[in-house]
């Protein structure tokens, strides 16, 4: 006689999905942070300030979108720092090539990310090199290339007007374009993850690659595409950042690696893959951005910020990111 399963969940309706809990907690923390911030400064809850936060967060948001896909797949992409920088540098470099350069600056920057992602994806999918190590190596290679290319100096090219349009300006009232870009990218990502065969395949592979493979999914192709997505979104983020700052800078991408991973994980996505939703990443990005800005508003010095940053992440993960007890 087959064993009887417990929680008799009603047909076709779920009790609260345990996956949603972290997202709810994350949004609660966002509210808490907004509250704390407003205690320090009245401006904290003003629309201008909030939009400014969203704008700053948008760059991390675009980068973290790519990271979400890779982590859901059960892998990791440590080549984000120099994908971002390469996208920025080469996008700006294109500006030196006249009107054609200007027109193709953004696609060219993104193309760098595509190339990086292809190398990563191919190595993971076909050569079965662990993603942690290959993306690390690729990151170092891209760094080497960029350092050699710029001769070690700060890049001189400035961003094209199209890059500045997306990164720094606001077309519609006071809504920064960067936020709109993130919204579009995010909506597309959520759609792909939730409603397409590609998204389903990503979850399946992240859950258990052997099952996905034996079920007829073309796992290798999906892995390559996912890394291409991550690389191109990172590079695109770099392009936007260059537009925001007016030019690229050495090591500009370093500050985005750990926050992008943290944003994804704080949003409830399991680092092991197969579990999580994009909206969680959105929450994670906003959470981290708010946290960083509160820390500067409260005028804690840099060291305090680092410590609080680390402690908060650990506490939040302890709240909902723990692996189950194995006995």
């Amino acid at each position: 006689m087959p064993p009887v399963s417990s929680a008799a969940t009603p047909r076709n309706r779920r009790a609260m999905n345990p996956n949603d809990l972290p997202i709810i907690i994350a949004f609660c923390c966002i509210l808490a942070l907004l509250l704390v911030g407003s205690l320090y400064s009245r401006n904290f809850l003003s629309p201008e300030y909030l939009l400014q936060q969203l704008k700053v967060g948008a760059f991390l948001g675009v980068i973290a979108t790519g990271m979400t896909f890779v982590i859901l797949l059960g892998q990791i992409d440590l080549s984000v720092p120099w994908s971002v920088t390469a996208g920025a540098m080469l996008g700006c470099a294109a500006s030196a090539y006249g009107p054609i350069g200007e027109a193709f600056a953004i696609p060219f920057g993104v193309l760098c990310g595509v190339v990086i992602g292809t190398v990563n994806g191919f190595s993971v999918a076909y050569l079965r090199i662990p993603s942690m190590i290959i993306t690390l190596a690729v990151n170092a290679v891209v760094q080497g290339l960029m350092v050699a290319y710029t001769g070690g100096f700060a890049p001189q090219d400035s961003a094209t007007s199209s890059m500045r349009l997306l990164g720094a300006e606001s077309t519609f009232w006071f809504v920064p374009n960067a936020v709109l870009v993130w919204a579009i990218v995010g909506a597309a990502a959520a759609f792909v993850l939730g409603r397409t065969t590609f998204g389903r395949a990503v979850y399946a592979i992240g859950n258990r690659e052997s099952v996905a493979y034996l079920s007829g999914i073309k796992t290798q192709r999906i892995v390559v595409l996912t890394f291409i997505l991550s690389g191109s979104l990172a590079a695109f983020g770099g392009v936007l950042l260059a537009g925001y700052a007016g030019k690229a800078a050495q090591s500009m991408g370093d500050a985005y690696l750990l926050p992008s991973i943290a944003a994804v994980v704080l949003g409830g996505t399991s680092i092991l893959g197969g579990r999580g939703r994009y909206i969680g990443t959105v929450a994670g990005v906003i959470l981290i951005t708010l946290l960083q800005s509160i820390l500067s508003v409260v005028q804690i010095q840099e060291f305090g910020r680092q410590i609080v940053y680390g402690v908060v992440i650990i506490l939040m993960l302890l709240a909902y990111g723990r692996e189950p007890e194995t006995r």
Binding site: P2, S6, R13, N207
Partner: protein
């Protein structure tokens, strides 16, 4: 052997996993100097009982007594201290350590705080000899040893602790026939030395040879204990399943489909070292079985057909056309139309944390997703259809598939493939570990599919199934088809005979022609 009280007593053991009661007030008495066999279907609680006894799992209720003293085993180490050693089904060997390291892992000989490697090696060699593995080098890495050698190392590891109670959980499943003989000798010797031995196995003939006493488990309880050979096989099976046992197989159509071209035509398939020129054909409407002893290449054959193996030589023709199958993706595509229900549904067939719906639609997703976007309504409808068709219980599509029983989980795996309407269905021991009721449903389903034109190739370790369900059975030995049985020649006796006959012939024993017991 003096008639004394049981050296081991387990009383009132209960263990729940979620809502499933793996053990329900179970008890067991084992005496020293006896081999005590435990029988029961998969899911009856045998494995959980063993895990409780060996300290891997803590029971929710109940007590264990050794020599009438109450003991508790919070960890496997504690069980070992008390003299209980277990040889597990999933081996507990560390792949990257040497055989010697593994054998002495519990309590290595020490010198000045460090492991005394010389003494360790000597002890390991002694244990290996005792376990019948004198050909195994103590410094060999376990990951480099074949499965049968690993099992011997596992046995040596259990023996080195000089246990009082030795448990063997399906310990002979990976062994070659010669090894099994050696292990039996060993077990009989240990019995005469006064150990209490617990032996779990599905193989009735092994139990007949070894056991002094038998206990049958069903639904987490001990339903009967009796002296070996005091019950017939049929009575034992009825105790295991709990009711009058009459295996029901759907009627087979009369033989007579010779004229049509086979859908699957395999010629001289070679894959070193497991497949040696396999040739077979399967026609539409046929259920062809693969038989023979474990590990003769049956799984590799199915994997080869499904595109999982690299370096394959030989010819595979689908509906007359020679084709190279590069991957499961290719095998399941519309042009070829193959499906494989794999051996281990938990690691090869299902995404356990995901819902029934997500699992069911996994392979066929492309069929209702124009331009890659999933049409939710189409998916829901198809999923509901399948749930109804296969009678999957509970019938909610949004529950995680992990909450379903083994039988229903297997139905989900089968349904996943049926969504693609495959014309060739490969099954790798699909009814292992499934309750009898679901088995009957699956038999009926397979026959229906065959009648509808599918070609079915079906590996099973259950002789009843092969005889009852298949039109033809191909008995495999050492990677090739040795005999084909059908119609009147397809009997259990012939199956066992062919499988064993091959073994005897290979061992050079001239008496291969005598009928097996």
């Amino acid at each position: 052997m003096t008639e004394q009280g049981p050296v081991l007593r387990m009383e009132g053991i209960t263990k729940r996993y979620g809502g499933v009661r793996a053990l329900d007030d179970a008890h067991l008495h084992v005496r020293a100097g006896r081999i005590h066999a435990i029988l029961g279907e998969n899911g009856a609680g045998k494995s959980t009982l063993i895990k409780v006894l060996s300290g891997v799992v803590t029971p929710d209720a109940g007590a264990i007594f050794i020599d009438d003293r109450p003991v508790t085993f919070p960890t496997p180490a504690a069980a070992n201290e008390a003299g209980v050693a277990c040889i597990f089904q999933e081996l507990s060997l560390i792949p990257d350590l040497t055989a010697a390291d593994n054998i002495l892992i519990g309590n290595p000989p020490r010198r000045m705080g460090l492991i005394d490697r010389r003494r360790q090696r000597r002890l390991a060699e002694e244990a290996l000899v005792r376990a019948g593995g004198s050909d195994i080098h103590p410094l060999a890495l376990v990951r480099d040893l074949p499965l049968s050698r690993r099992q011997i190392v596992e046995i040596a590891k259990a023996l080195v602790r000089n246990p009082r109670i030795l448990i063997l959980d399906e310990a002979t499943s990976a062994l070659t026939a010669a090894d099994v003989e050696t292990v039996f000798e060993l077990l009989k010797r240990l019995r005469s030395e006064g150990l209490a031995l617990l032996y779990i196995s599905h193989r009735m003939h092994e139990i007949a040879e070894l056991a002094d006493e038998c206990t049958v488990f069903r639904n987490g309880r001990n339903v009967a204990t009796f002296a070996a050979a005091s019950r017939t096989d049929r009575e034992i099976v009825e105790m295991m399943i709990g009711r009058e046992f009459k295996s029901q197989f759907p009627p087979r159509p009369a033989v007579g489909k010779r004229e049509t071209q086979p859908i699957l035509d395999v010629r001289d398939l070679i894959w070193r070292p497991r497949l040696n020129q396999v040739s077979l054909t399967v026609r539409a409407g046929e259920v062809v079985g693969l038989g023979g002893l474990d590990g003769q290449g049956q799984t590799e054959l199915l994997l080869a057909l499904f595109g999982v193996l690299r370096g394959l030589k030989g010819d595979i023709r689908i509906a007359g056309k020679a084709i190279e199958i590069a991957s499961p993706g290719a095998a399941s595509s519309e042009g070829i139309g193959m499906a494989l229900i794999p051996a281990d549904r938990k690691t090869e067939g299902l995404l356990l944390p995901m819902t029934v719906r997500e699992n069911l639609s996994l392979s066929a997703l492309g069929r209702f997703s124009p331009f890659g976007v999933v049409n939710r309504e189409s998916e829901r409808r198809s999923v509901a259809e399948m749930i109804a068709l296969l009678n999957i219980k509970p019938d909610g599509a949004e529950v995680p598939v992990a909450t379903l029983s083994g039988g229903n989980q297997q139905k989900v795996v089968i349904a996943k493939w049926l969504m693609l309407r495959p014309r060739i269905i490969l099954l790798n021991d699909p009814t292992r570990g499934i309750d009898v009721g679901t088995k009957q449903e699956i038999y009926a389903l397979l026959r229906r599919l065959a009648d509808g034109g599918a070609a079915i190739l079906f590996y099973s370790t259950d002789y009843d199934e092969l005889v009852g369900l298949c039109d033809r059975v191909l008995v495999m030995y050492e990677g090739a088809v040795q005999r084909e049985l059908e119609g009147d020649t397809l009997t259990e006796r012939a199956l066992v005979g062919s499988a064993l006959n091959m073994r005897w012939a290979a061992d050079g024993d001239g008496s291969g022609a005598s009928a097996p017991t």
